[in-house]
């Protein structure tokens, strides 16, 4: 009895590649896949390390530039070794907050319009439009800003030129709208219909159902959409560069003032900066990076928390 089992084992193994080589191939392939996956990890680490290494350099070693002056400085004049970025931080924050305050409500309500109220025919027009808005490269928003918004502001602004915090806020609002609309709309659509039926069944009106049952149920999705919007607003460079005015100093006091966000500071001077000036630009990059990290971590926390509920 025993030997024919051995027999059988032999012919069955002939059919398949001998187990040993098959396993080796499996292992090799798996490691290749693993290495590809690690590329993302390596690149993130590399970016952080290099940007921080280059960015921290000026504040360390012999004639170090005081980090405090850098952080609190309100004047940026590379020729006179003056590198204050505080007023840029304020500009970036104000612009982002402005864009969020206007963009999120409008975006959310438009998403409600598309997901809950609009008839099918209208949705088929608005939705592709929003997707297109999302696809437009930011440079074009810059063109639009320069071509339309700046002149408009110029007419009503007490300041001589149109480039201003207001212009930046307008363009950033327009840019984050599609992100907020498409994401919020997706989460609203994901809310199961049984909630709407349950709410209507209790005698709630259509609007009450939307604002008291559907939106609360989609809260986490809307939150992450907002955070993504913030991320995009802070990180925007090209569109903002042409309409911000980029003064060399001064904390913006009113929406009409010229502003110089962190991102534009880097982009404008990087091509011709060198030595200490270049390192300072990297330092600005580090500050920006810090903001982004905060935004990313809150986003990940929200999405993971939403997962458990």
């Amino acid at each position: 009895m025993t030997n024919n089992i051995k027999e059988e084992n032999n012919n069955s193994s002939i059919m398949m590649k001998p187990n040993k080589t098959r396993d080796i191939i499996e292992k090799i392939v798996e490691t290749i896949f693993f290495l590809c996956a690690m590329v993302s990890v390596v690149s993130v680490i590399a970016i952080i390390v290099f940007v921080f290494y280059k960015g921290v350099a000026p504040f360390v070693g012999n004639n170090a530039y005081s980090f405090f002056d850098f952080i609190s400085g309100v004047k940026w004049d590379p020729n006179h070794n003056e590198y204050g970025v505080f007023y840029m931080i304020v500009a970036s924050i104000l612009a982002t907050i402005g864009a969020i305050i206007i963009g999120v409500p409008i975006g959310l309500l438009t998403a409600v319009f598309i997901a809950e109220i609009a008839p099918k025919s209208l949705v088929n027009i608005v939705k592709p439009g929003v997707e297109l808005l999302a696809g437009i490269p930011s440079v074009i928003y810059g063109a639009f800003g320069l071509g339309v918004i700046v002149p408009l502001i110029n007419k009503i602004s007490p300041e001589p030129q149109g480039q201003s915090l207001l212009a930046v806020i307008c363009v950033l609002t327009i840019m984050i709208l599609p992100t907020i609309i498409s994401l919020s709309e997706a989460t609203l659509k994901a809310v199961p219909n049984s909630y709407r039926e349950a709410s209507l069944g209790l005698g709630a009106s259509k609007t009450q159902t939307i604002f008291r049952a559907v939106i609360p149920a989609a809260k986490s999705g809307i939150l992450s959409a907002t955070v993504l919007g913030i991320g995009r607003a802070i990180g925007e460079t090209m569109a903002v560069m042409m309409i911000a005015g980029n003064p060399i100093g001064g904390i913006p006091m009113s929406i009409w003032d010229k502003v110089r966000p962190l991102t534009t500071n880097i982009a404008m001077e990087m091509s011709y900066a060198s030595g200490r000036h270049q390192e300072m630009l990297f330092a600005t990059g580090v500050i920006l990076f810090a903001f982004i990290m905060i935004v990313n971590i809150t986003l990940i926390k929200i999405t993971s928390k939403a997962g458990e509920k």
Partner: protein
């Protein structure tokens, strides 16, 4: 037939989904403070009819309703605002669907949308409704916890409590226990029998034993028509119509 005023009087009711006729010439008087069961094979129109009573069918595109439904003698399609109707006629669904909020917020949702804000009043309503739904003892110390983190049977009773919180006069139940285990099912049935003291209950069910166990009157639906409607004992002992007999003795097809 007793001479009480019927809670619902349905006259010559037809319903069309675009061109498909789902309900044909429904005539029925539904009594107050009684459990009326609708039975029949799937697709026979019993759920559709139930959803016409609280006008949930209005949400469906291309629905057309002819004929009249009177609630306490008032035409629900003409003379009652749909919001008022739905707060007087509560509904419990097949799949327990508590909102993704705490148990407290779920039950308080109804009163809040109808303008009740004071916390003390809400607390009282929530407790009263949960007690009425025979689930107060099981959830009284975790009102703040999410309503979805409890068993299916408990979720369904929370949904019932949520409906009771709006103080309806009628409770519609659309196969309320088909997704529940036998024990929870019996709990819901006992609850329904208790609630019939104060509310008119209409229940759609596939489970004939359930219909015979808890209902006072039963209507047998087939392809959109009411084949037979009468006292439950009579329907389940000596049904007049052969089609009813065949259905309840399981002889069809």
């Amino acid at each position: 037939m007793s001479n009480e005023v019927s809670k619902f009087s349905v006259q010559e009711l037809d319903l069309y989904y675009s061109n498909f006729q789902a309900l044909k010439k429904i005539n029925m008087e539904i009594q107050e403070k009684e459990i009326t069961a609708f039975i029949g094979p799937s697709g026979c129109g019993k759920s559709t009819f139930l959803k016409t009573i609280n006008r949930m069918n209005d949400l469906v595109e291309g629905v057309k309703v002819d004929g009249k439904i009177y609630l306490d003698g008032v035409d629900i399609y003409k003379d009652i605002d749909v919001i008022k109707l739905r707060s007087r006629v509560g509904m419990v669904f097949q799949q327990p669907n508590p909102f993704p909020m705490s148990i407290y917020d779920n039950v308080a949702y109804g009163p809040r949308i109808h303008g009740i804000k004071k916390k003390s009043v809400l607390d009282e309503i929530v407790e009263k409704s949960l007690r009425q739904a025979a689930i107060w003892d099981e959830v009284k110390d975790k009102l703040k916890k999410s309503a979805r983190a409890v068993s299916g049977g408990q979720q369904q009773r929370i949904c019932i409590a949520r409906t009771l919180a709006v103080e309806p006069e009628v409770i519609l139940m659309d196969e309320p226990t088909s997704a529940l285990d036998p024990i929870s099912t019996l709990k819901i049935e006992d609850l329904a029998v208790e609630l019939k003291e104060q509310y008119t209950i209409i229940i759609v069910t596939h489970n004939m034993q359930q219909a015979s166990r808890i209902s006072d009157k039963t209507a047998f639906f087939l392809t959109g028509e009411v084949i037979e409607y009468g006292k439950t004992e009579q329907i389940f002992n000596t049904p007049k119509n052969k089609k009813t007999e065949d259905y309840i003795t399981g002889r069809f097809g």
